[in-house]
């Protein structure tokens, strides 16, 4: 209990609270700008936190982390351009809601779900950290392989109305991810002797091109001189009823997002798709998903924010970062002569419990700032489209370039935009391609590592976790096939 007291004492001081607020604001800015990520902002600000007390510095960085993961949803909802990879799943229902004049509602849901997801994650982190971290360690290459195969079945259920096209989209994603050094032998595949290609195709330019820029192309196509059509924004209020109806989705997705976040190497991007998929699977009226179902937004946003606390779990208890942001947070801890791990809990309780309390406050702060800010974000929709879309294009170019200061990434973004444009025209769902790009490398490297470790035998398939995942995968495929059949039977 004294740990909690020490934590409260460290966090409840004006400077720490101010840093939380500042962090959340910076996080919202970088999260909403496509191409700028929480990782980049945290890395840039890290050196400036060294002069602060460990707890205070941590508050700033955690604020950025939470703020950025939420804010990726803002452009995802309003202009179909996810601001962070984790908001890719938010596009699925968030943008349709906005098109149907429910942008205000979608933004409100996204704030509340993000904050609640984050808080649930922090509570799980505080209560179960050591035990959950032990579980994460049991995930070896074989487990990652089967997990990614299970997650790939999301492609099938995301594209029930256009199964073959969804599968093609996902397969293209897998192929794109294979360009560059292969994960085991470091052989440059499909590089044609180019250093740029052998470095592989970056994920963020693909995301920016496929969604934001492809949408901009479509907007340019539709532009007509004179009259501007302004979509209605709808109400911002969330009634008690609505909140109650979204509660089960948010709770379940928070837990799923947290668990996926715990596993090193998997984070909010996968977590939000998994949560979206499970929500859809167990929801009534699942036909509404993809057409502006509020539950889709709630699932994706609560999961990706819950994954932040998940990522901190192995970071604090084992010193093994759960994702790229928490890897930097390790640096913020060690620079003060402290080491993450069990001894951190006993050695500096004010830091550990300060992080728990502070991260919870980050999400409280996010809830307030986010709800107040919505009215500001939606002003974006009042900008005349002929100014809005050229600016979005500039931001897309900057976002692609800024990642590595490399014009090659802008080219990739442009090609992805053209591909995305044709895919939209042809009725090919885009989300499966994103899922393929994210999961392909995890699946391939997991499988090949598992084979090397097992000396060429497949016995790893029969160990408990992979076997469970295998059964879930088969069940998931069977269910999707069943639904696709009943769907096509009813529409025929």
């Amino acid at each position: 209990m004294s740990g909690w007291a020490a934590g409260f004492e460290a966090v409840l001081d004006p400077q720490a609270l101010f840093l939380i607020l500042a962090g959340v604001l910076v996080g919202i800015l970088v999260g909403a700008l496509p191409g700028l990520s929480a990782t980049m902002a945290v890395a840039v600000l890290l050196p400036f936190t060294f002069a602060l007390e460990p707890v205070d510095g941590m508050m700033l960085l955690l604020g950025i982390y939470g703020g950025a993961l939420y804010a990726g949803s803002i452009p995802a909802i309003l202009i179909r351009a996810p601001g962070t990879p984790s908001a890719a799943a938010t596009v699925l229902d968030g943008h349709p809601m906005s098109q149907r004049g429910r942008a205000g509602e979608a933004l409100s849901i996204s704030v509340v779900a993000s904050a609640v997801g984050g808080m649930v994650g922090v509570v799980f982190l505080a209560l179960f950290a050591p035990r959950v971290a032990e579980f994460a360690l049991r995930f070896g290459p074989a487990e990652y392989f089967m997990l990614s195969i299970f997650a790939l079945t999301i492609i099938a259920s995301l594209s029930e109305s256009a199964m073959v096209k969804g599968l093609i989209s996902g397969t293209l994603g897998l192929l794109i991810a294979m360009i560059g050094l292969d994960p085991i032998q470091a052989f440059p595949r499909f590089a044609f002797g180019s250093v740029e290609l052998s470095a592989g195709i970056q994920f963020i330019p693909i995301l920016i091109g496929l969604f934001g820029v492809a949408e901009a192309l479509r907007q340019f196509e539709r532009l007509r001189g004179g009259v501007e059509e302004r979509p209605a924004l709808g109400s911002f209020r969330l009634g008690f009823d609505r909140l109650k109806r979204l509660a089960p989705t948010t709770a379940g997705s928070s837990v799923l997002g947290f668990l996926v976040g715990v596993l090193p190497g998997t984070g909010g991007d996968i977590g939000s798709f998994v949560a979206y998929n499970e929500t859809k699977r167990f929801a009534r009226g699942e036909k509404n998903f993809g057409r502006g179902d509020p539950r889709g937004v709630a699932a994706a946003e609560s999961a990706n924010n819950a994954s932040t606390a998940g990522a901190l779990t192995p970071t604090l208890t084992l010193g093994i970062p759960g994702d790229s942001v928490s890897a930097i947070l390790i640096g913020a801890i060690t620079v003060h002569g402290l080491r993450p791990g069990p001894q951190l809990f006993t050695g500096s309780p004010e830091l550990v419990y300060g992080i728990f309390i502070g991260f919870f406050l980050v999400y409280t702060c996010l809830l307030v700032v986010g709800l107040l800010g919505i009215r500001l974000w939606v002003q974006l929709m009042r900008v005349p489209t002929r100014f809005l879309w050229p600016t979005v294009l500039v931001l897309s170019v900057v976002g692609s370039y800024a990642l590595r200061s490399n014009p090659f990434d802008v080219l990739v973004m442009l090609l992805a935009a053209v591909l995305g444009y044709f895919m939209m025209k042809g009725g090919y769902p885009l989300a499966p391609l994103v899922i393929g790009v994210i999961l392909g490398p995890i699946a391939e490297s997991g499988f090949r590592r598992a084979m090397i470790i097992s000396g060429g035998s497949f016995e790893w398939l029969l160990t408990p976790i992979p076997l469970t995942l295998l059964i879930l995968t088969l069940a998931s495929i069977a269910l999707a096939a069943l639904r696709a059949r009943s769907g096509s039977a009813s529409s025929a």
Binding site: A43, V44, A186
Partner: protein, 324 residues
């Protein structure tokens, strides 16, 4: 509404710009450096190399008297960033961060870039490799591991990628000891360490700083450090020399500029970055993070890179780990 917003923001921009111009003032002429310097880090934001670069840059902004910005030009085991640094305008305003990989990737068949393409400014770090096993492992010493490998047991060593410095370090150790390991390449050192903790593999080869948290937590047992001296962060772990293996290897980091950069510019860069290196802030940072401090000046670093390039050439050929 939209129009008013636009006009107001336009005004705001004008004011901010004006303030910016007034605050910065006209840049000094001729005297190097009069403009912002960019450091190209070939590794991702937030990683070990990036952290050292950003810390060095933060201090050097004062010692060099100009703004310094860090850009992460990642990809192909560093090749993209090395190439960008080598082909930048040779005016000293673009400084590359060179890591040990610049002496390796050409031999590995990853990219054509070599230390010949750049000029050294200074080296600021060297981290020897550490070979560690899980704390519940039956192997108490590196001799145990070697004996087990000689008996035909499969020792699976996690590395941060095929052809990475930690892979080559472990492979060199095995060659000196006359045994063979199985190498499992991971995406960085952290997942390789996690795989040892999870019991999926027996050992990992990484820098001392990377395993220190788990060593202190009693979850990893470091068996040998492949450097000349014991590490401050792993004081109880013997060096390779102490256990009778003639093999040293590790990662280093330094600053480089394009080949045609003038001597006086290199000299100025070396002086102000050296001052940053010697600052208390940077020394404290390196020490607490567990990064080894080794300094070489421009000329020494240049010839050190060449020696390393030669050495890795032989080793990689002998170990046959070229990708193609």
């Amino acid at each position: 509404m939209g129009w008013r917003l636009l006009r107001v923001s336009g005004l705001a921009v004008a004011v901010v710009t004006l303030l910016g111009v007034v605050a910065c003032g006209p840049a000094g002429e001729d005297e190097f450096p009069s403009e912002q310097i960019e450091i190209i880090v070939p590794w991702a934001a937030g990683g070990g190399t990036d952290q050292t670069a950003r810390q060095l840059a933060a201090v050097a902004e004062e010692t060099c008297g100009t703004g310094i910005i860090v850009s992460n030009q990642t990809g192909s085991t560093g090749a993209v960033g090395f190439q960008a640094a080598a082909t930048a305008r040779p005016d000293g305003y673009t400084v590359g961060l060179a890591t040990v990989e610049i002496a390796m990737i050409n031999h590995l068949g990853v990219a054509p870039v070599t230390p010949e393409d750049v000029r050294g400014v200074m080296q600021y770090n060297f981290d020897p490799a550490a070979f560690s096993v899980g704390s519940d492992s039956p192997y108490e010493s590196i001799e145990d591991v070697i004996a087990a490998a000689e008996d035909g047991e499969d020792i699976r060593v996690g590395t941060s990628g095929t052809g990475s410095i930690w892979h080559v370090a472990a492979a060199g150790l095995a060659r000196e000891a006359g045994v063979e390991f199985t190498y499992v390449p991971f995406d960085g050192a952290a997942p390789a360490i996690a795989a040892v903790l999870g019991g999926q593999i027996e050992a990992t080869s990484a820098s001392g700083a990377e395993v220190a948290p788990q060593v202190e937590a009693g979850e990893l047992r470091p068996l040998v450090v492949m450097g000349e001296e014991r590490l401050d962060i792993l004081p109880d772990t013997p060096t390779t020399q102490e256990v009778g293996i003639d093999w040293e290897s590790g990662a280093w980091r330094g600053l480089v500029v394009p080949n045609d950069t003038p001597d006086d510019v290199v000299q100025t860069l070396n002086e102000c970055f050296r001052e940053a290196y010697e600052s208390e802030q940077f020394q404290d940072f390196m020490e607490t993070q567990g990064f080894g401090m080794v300094y070489r000046d421009a000329g020494e670093f240049e010839s050190y890179m060449d020696e390393e390039f030669e050495r890795f050439g032989e080793l990689i050929r002998e170990l046959d780990i070229r990708a193609e």
